[in-house]
């Protein structure tokens, strides 16, 4: 269920991902590769969501703190690990491996102690003591590395000669010193060759453990991302979803990015509760009443679940979707007319094809809004008819009663409460911001309704926004004429 970059931007994914912050380069790489699980990995997704829940259940634990500290020290040494077995490995690479294996030993110990409580299903981490003992045979735990003379007879011999001549150099001067330095050059060369042979031997002795070391790096990347997901839930909230066979429902679902914007403006996001099942439903409501926000919030939370993240809701029941199809005009960035309509048709075409091969969530935001109302109604009715019988879950935002009447299930954004336009005008006269006033009168919650009546509140919104009086008067006159 891949989304295009512009769709990801549209649903506000970046806000969430920016706050997902792994501590190691391997965790960050996992994050870059983060995307929806496809159906073949459904069991893996279930394990991941369950492991995230188990991580959160651990609460605060000193072993977790140590894991985080260790992850911060973790370097991406996959290039070095891939070279294990090569005879030309060098001392710095062996140092990197030794340091990593020491770090891994501590991390694996903390992992084991946490695992007793957490019982993570999709995670396993083990240290590789046999490899560490090759690079630290005395078991000193010292994080530095040097090639020991005791590991190689020819190296020991070269170094004995080197030490001897350096003693003489230190006591000499002038031409005698120069001559000794030249003799030293040969010894240094012997030492370098002996060191290289030793590096090669160590490298080959490490080879049987290469796969285990590579596996531990991969597991640490996974663990890092899982801990980052848990930190994200602690920061922004979220709840483990229940995976269903078809039902899609959220109780008190929010969109964290929009909630953040509202919070900065002194307002609050109204949590949304919605329940859908295979078939087509409609969402209607007043202009500026939050219908598009509802679609975005739904799309974001469904997408997050499929990426192995928790949705932002008190309760979530989500089926496994093969595709998330968003059909939105591009009117919001000013592109209207045929090209926008063409884009919508292409998206609708893709959705119609997708539901024939997979189980999809299809979201239409006022389909064909740019075309004339008479045809627009027919197009939307056709969409409803097609997707009602598709077996997938479809939600269509519409303004048309004639469309709503055809839907099996209808939702309404509650919209403007018992309105008091005079009160709104007084607030605005007192200097209140237009949007603040509108928000004061708007209920962004949604509810399921039986009748197909679509609220007619466009004029009220225009009044509350304080549209120019002459224009408003002309509009009102049209309302009066149509009643007659």
């Amino acid at each position: 269920m891949e989304l295009t970059p512009s769709q990801q931007q549209d649903i506000g994914l970046a806000f969430v991902l920016d706050r997902l912050q792994p501590l190691s380069p391997l965790g960050r790489e996992r994050k870059r590769a983060l995307g929806p699980y496809d159906r073949s990995r459904r069991a893996e997704l279930i394990r991941e969501l369950s492991d995230l829940d188990r991580t959160l259940a651990l609460g605060e634990d000193p072993a977790l703190d140590r894991l985080r500290q260790g992850l911060m020290q973790l370097r991406d040494i996959r290039g070095t690990v891939a070279r294990i077995g090569n005879r030309d490995m060098d001392q710095v690479e062996l140092f990197e491996l030794k340091r990593y294996l020491l770090l891994l030993r501590g991390l694996a110990e903390d992992f084991r102690s946490l695992q007793e409580r957490a019982r993570w299903a999709g995670l396993a981490l083990a240290d590789v003591p046999e490899a560490l003992s090759i690079l630290d045979p005395e078991g000193s735990g010292n994080p530095t590395f040097s090639l020991r003379s005791s590991w190689s007879a020819d190296l020991a011999e070269a170094r004995r000669d080197k030490t001897e001549i350096e003693k003489q150099i230190a006591l000499s001067a002038g031409a005698a010193r120069e001559a000794l330095l030249i003799r030293r050059t040969d010894i240094v060369l012997r030492e370098a060759e002996a060191e290289q042979r030793l590096c090669g031997r160590l490298s080959q002795r490490l080879q049987p453990h290469q796969a285990a070391i590579a596996g531990s790096l991969s597991a640490l990347g996974h663990l890092d991302l899982l801990l980052a997901k848990a930190a994200l839930v602690r920061e922004l909230g979220g709840k483990k979803p229940t995976l269903t066979e078809g039902e899609l429902s959220f109780r008190d679902m929010v969109h964290p990015a929009l909630a953040d914007v509202l919070k900065n403006q002194g307002a609050a996001f109204t949590p949304l509760t919605i329940s859908l099942s295979p078939g087509a439903a409609v969402l209607t409501g007043a202009n500026m009443g939050g219908k598009s926000v509802c679609l975005k919030t739904l799309a974001l939370n469904v997408y997050l679940v499929h990426c192995g993240l928790f949705p932002f809701a008190r309760e979530a029941r989500v089926p496994f979707f093969d595709q998330l199809c968003l059909v939105r005009g591009e009117g919001e960035d000013g592109r209207e007319g045929l090209s926008s309509f063409g884009g919508e048709l292409m998206a609708a075409d893709a959705a119609a094809r997708a539901v024939q091969t997979g189980f999809c969530l299809v979201l239409f935001d006022e389909f064909a809004r740019g075309t004339n109302p008479a045809e627009s109604v027919k197009l939307q009715q056709g969409v409803l008819r097609f997707f009602e019988g598709s077996g997938s879950v479809c939600l269509l935002v519409t303004h048309y009663e004639a469309v709503a009447a055809r839907a099996g299930r209808r939702f309404l954004t509650r919209g403007i409460r018992d309105l008091d336009v005079a009160e709104g005008r007084r607030m605005m006269a007192a200097g209140a911001d237009k949007l603040t006033v509108l928000r004061r009168f708007m209920d962004y919650g949604i509810e399921q309704i039986d009748e197909a009546a679509v609220p007619q509140r466009a004029l009220t919104v225009a009044e509350l926004l304080g549209v120019e009086e002459g224009l408003l008067a002309a509009i009102r006159r049209e309302y009066i004429l149509s009643e007659d």
Binding site: D90, I169, A170
Partner: protein
């Protein structure tokens, strides 16, 4: 001995007036001095230096010969050219064009080539890391030419090397070196106003020098570089500030001529931060031409600076 002069400082930067001024010879002299006194040294460089073949002139340049136990930081790509037996202590996460900077302990005597980072903050971090591994004193093989002299935050003391390779005219070499020594020794300024991100202060805060010169007060404060163009603007005016305050001596990017003209107009330069010039070493031989008269060079230099002037070629064990 040279080492006694740097004894009060825990970080010393070696700067050279030009190639072949004797910077590396001075560094070797300090390494021998430290060994004789049992002082554990940490070595690194600003950028790359210490090549056996001088890349610019092709002349022989004494490489750095360390004693066993010495800590040093260099780039991974230069390790094959270090012939000490080494213990790797740390990979620093700092990178140079020659690879990541590695900290090692020499387990034997031998030759090393140094290539450390070039950015001030990174050098400061590396010095701290060397001290963390036990270095009692850190020597930084600095870059050439005064425009990239050690910044005060990177070293407490500076050792300046000069020599006949700077040019055939000994008097000019002495005057140029004395000028650099003077910039390094500028007196410390009074308290600075809070300037935020503004470049100039004089009574108020300003973004350009011309406006600042309309301001009130004797003291002008300048963040960042003070250049020849600014000097020219000042020299065209009648009334100019009596005192110009800079962040440190490396910010003064002036020709000696303009500096002296401003001094003649009564301008005093002061700096907020300073590292001490510890000594000047002189190398009378030139990589390019005739040598100077060694005694005269040392004497003239000593007359122009207030710190000791040493001809380390005379006390050098080899050259």
């Amino acid at each position: 001995m040279l080492f006694d002069l740097i004894a009060p400082y825990t970080t010393v930067c070696l700067a050279g007036m030009c190639k072949n001024a004797g910077k590396t010879t001075a560094l070797n002299a300090l390494i021998r001095g430290a060994a004789a006194r049992g002082v554990l040294l940490g070595l690194t460089s600003i950028g790359r230096d210490g090549e056996r073949e001088d890349l610019v002139t092709g002349t022989y340049k004494p490489p750095i010969y360390v004693t066993g136990g010495t800590l040093f930081a260099t780039s991974r790509g230069l390790l094959p050219r270090c012939d000490v037996t080494g213990e790797i202590l740390s990979l620093t996460g700092l990178y140079t064009p020659l690879g990541e900077v590695v900290i090692l302990r020499a387990l034997s005597d031998g030759f090393v080539e140094l290539a450390g980072p070039s950015m001030r903050e990174q050098i400061v971090a590396l010095e701290a890391a060397l001290k963390g591994f036990g270095a009692e004193k850190v020597l930084v093989d600095g870059a050439l030419f005064r425009r990239s002299l050690c910044a005060p935050e990177a070293a407490e003391g500076i050792l300046l090397s000069t020599g006949a390779s700077l040019g055939p005219d000994m008097h000019r070499t002495v005057a140029d070196t004395a000028f650099v020594a003077e910039l390094l020794g500028l007196p410390i300024s009074g308290p600075w106003p809070d300037m935020g991100d503004r470049r100039f202060a004089r009574g108020g805060l300003f973004d350009d020098l011309a406006s600042a010169l309309e301001g009130q007060g004797d003291a002008l404060f300048v963040t960042g570089a003070f250049t020849d163009a600014m000097a020219a603007l000042l020299l065209r005016r009648k009334g100019i500030p009596a005192e110009i305050n800079l962040e440190d001596g490396t910010r003064l990017l002036l020709s000696r001529e303009n500096y002296e003209k401003l001094r003649a107009r009564g301008v005093a330069f002061r700096v907020r931060d300073r590292n001490d010039l510890v000594a000047v070493t002189v190398n009378p031989s030139s990589a390019y031409g005739a040598p100077y008269d060694a005694a005269a060079f040392q004497r003239l230099m000593a007359e122009r600076v207030s710190v000791p002037v040493m001809n380390i070629w005379e006390e050098s064990a080899w050259n």
